[in-house]
């Protein structure tokens, strides 16, 4: 039974449905100390953009969102598994303003509860096997391994002197964008979409994911502190090799490049001074506009992929507006 366009659920409604299923997703076994951290991280909140994309893509292709619920759960559990392990690696004390799992229960439990979440991911993913979507298992695995690769690249970059723009884009593609793309593809496959359309849905999500991450890099430097969830300038303080920093190294002349590198490593000045010095260099090099141009390039590519899906426009409006609303106008 195909869903009519006017029967499609909006973002908020899909989120609500997802959250009510997520609440019941963890079936406690023994010992409960393995399961408490799983429940904890899954209930920490967040926009739930990935599962919503899976559910919305399923409805875009004409089947009710329920058909993609197992995949939506699998993806959100996988995403939170990766957060739990990334937080250990980054030594992060907080996640969404709350103590991280390794802070609360110790590193060993965070490793092991994360592992259990990965097994739980496949528990939900395997529920779809009976529907005949064998491809969905293979594409999910391909995405999952890329998330690991992206995180490894990110860690490697920290210890390296030179990182190319291509390498940086590859890293954020793998670490962040691919899972967003895969969410859309899983939703498409759940609805029985053809391989080509499923691939376009993936392209839409992946390109959008890169644009979104570049926006995140921009907001970290130029965002409105009142609206941006994190501390503005955090990447600069940490000396993180963001798109802005790598772009500045690329376009600066040799003396300015050396100056930027030196400031970025820190020195005899306060955090606020460091942020200001780096922002001044970024301004002199027009980094904000250069980054926006790159971000827009990926955003436009995502739009082209969505346009190319062989469906009437009224079926695409939910996902189109989700993408539009995620891009900040003020930048």
């Amino acid at each position: 039974m195909k869903l009519a366009a006017e029967q499609m659920h909006g973002i908020d409604s899909l989120r609500e449905e997802f959250l009510s299923d997520l609440k019941l997703a963890v079936d406690y076994g023994e010992p409960i100390s393995l399961y408490e951290p799983i429940e904890y991280i899954l209930q920490l909140g967040g926009k739930r953009i990935r599962p919503i994309c899976a559910l919305a893509a399923c409805e875009m292709f004409g089947l009710p969102y329920e058909k993609a619920m197992n995949q939506a759960l699998a993806i959100e559990i996988f995403h939170n598994f990766s957060l739990m392990h990334d937080d250990i690696m980054d030594n992060a004390p907080l996640r969404r303003g709350q103590a991280t799992v390794h802070e609360k229960w110790g590193v060993n439990t965070a490793i092991l509860s994360g592992d259990a979440m990965l097994v739980l991911t496949y528990h939900y993913l395997h529920k779809i096997v009976n529907t005949g979507s064998l491809n969905a298992l293979a594409t999910f695995n391909a995405a999952a391994i890329q998330v690991c690769e992206g995180q490894q690249m990110d860690m490697e970059f920290e210890g390296r002197d030179e990182v190319s723009m291509d390498e940086y884009i590859t890293m954020i593609r793998k670490k962040t964008a691919v899972l967003l793309g895969e969410s859309l593809r899983q939703g498409a496959l759940a609805a029985g979409a053809g391989i080509e359309d499923a691939h376009l849905a993936y392209d839409f999500g992946t390109n959008f994911g890169i644009a979104f991450q570049l926006q995140d890099d921009l907001l970290d430097a130029f965002g409105d502190p009142k609206k941006f969830g994190k501390k503005v300038g955090g990447d600069i303080i940490e000396g993180k090799k963001t798109f802005l920093y790598l772009k500045a190294l690329q376009v600066a002349d040799s003396p300015l490049r050396e100056e930027l590198k030196k400031i970025y490593q820190g020195g005899d000045f306060s955090e606020a001074e460091k942020i200001q010095k780096v922002l001044d260099i970024y301004s002199s090099l027009n980094i904000k506009d250069l980054t926006k141009a790159e971000m827009n390039r990926y955003y436009i590519s995502s739009g082209i992929a969505l346009n190319s899906i062989d469906l009437p426009e009224d079926r695409k409006r939910i996902l189109r507006s989700l993408a539009e609303h995620s891009m900040v106008r003020e930048l």
Copy 2:
């Protein structure tokens, strides 16, 4: 095409075939730093008992071992994933006499390469979907989550005063025995065995796995240092709550129980003295024979499960001799 009993491969031959496939199992992606540790741990050696059990079970049920090769690879990769993460948690410097992954490449890489191995496990497991063995995914997942639960119990026990015998058996069942049982079940399912026979194969492996772990506890205290791979007395030095220790606490009178607890926590004596003091108490309480009796109980249960499988005896001889040869006569 059913395999005749005389065409079945022996243990050494199955190991050789498995090792040649294992060599090609890791398809390197980028960055290679994620994949090197995977290759490293997979090539560290070991008896490969789990994959051999899967392949042998497949042939026992009449199909050539190749039918179970993907499952054998999945299981061995999963087992080594769990070793890689356990070694972090146990802070272990060595694995099979070589540096552990976290010692060689750091904790973060060991977490992440382990995660990638878990994804790789499912890559191989999903190759079997096309054969129609949907059950195999569900039973594998049930085993995998128990391995996580068992490891969490093991960690919990370290910090606890009281651990019951039942809890200890449950812990080693989940942490060690279930994956051995699952190896046999996966082999059985690959050969198209019925659910009941597959379950008996699982029971054979699980009971044997518990017997084997109890033997390991025994060997750690009473083994011949020349034959036992690890340092004899290691569990006593570490203050590990083994079956022997818990049994001693159970059968000792109150003063002796307190004395044993005190010695086990360590004190003003050398490691050699600690080992001797504990062994003296074990001897006075007849712990060796009590543990052997328990070990034999599980060993006999494993034999009963194997006997109950509806196949002629000549098909069972490979697995029966594998089990027999794994039990040390001298104990």
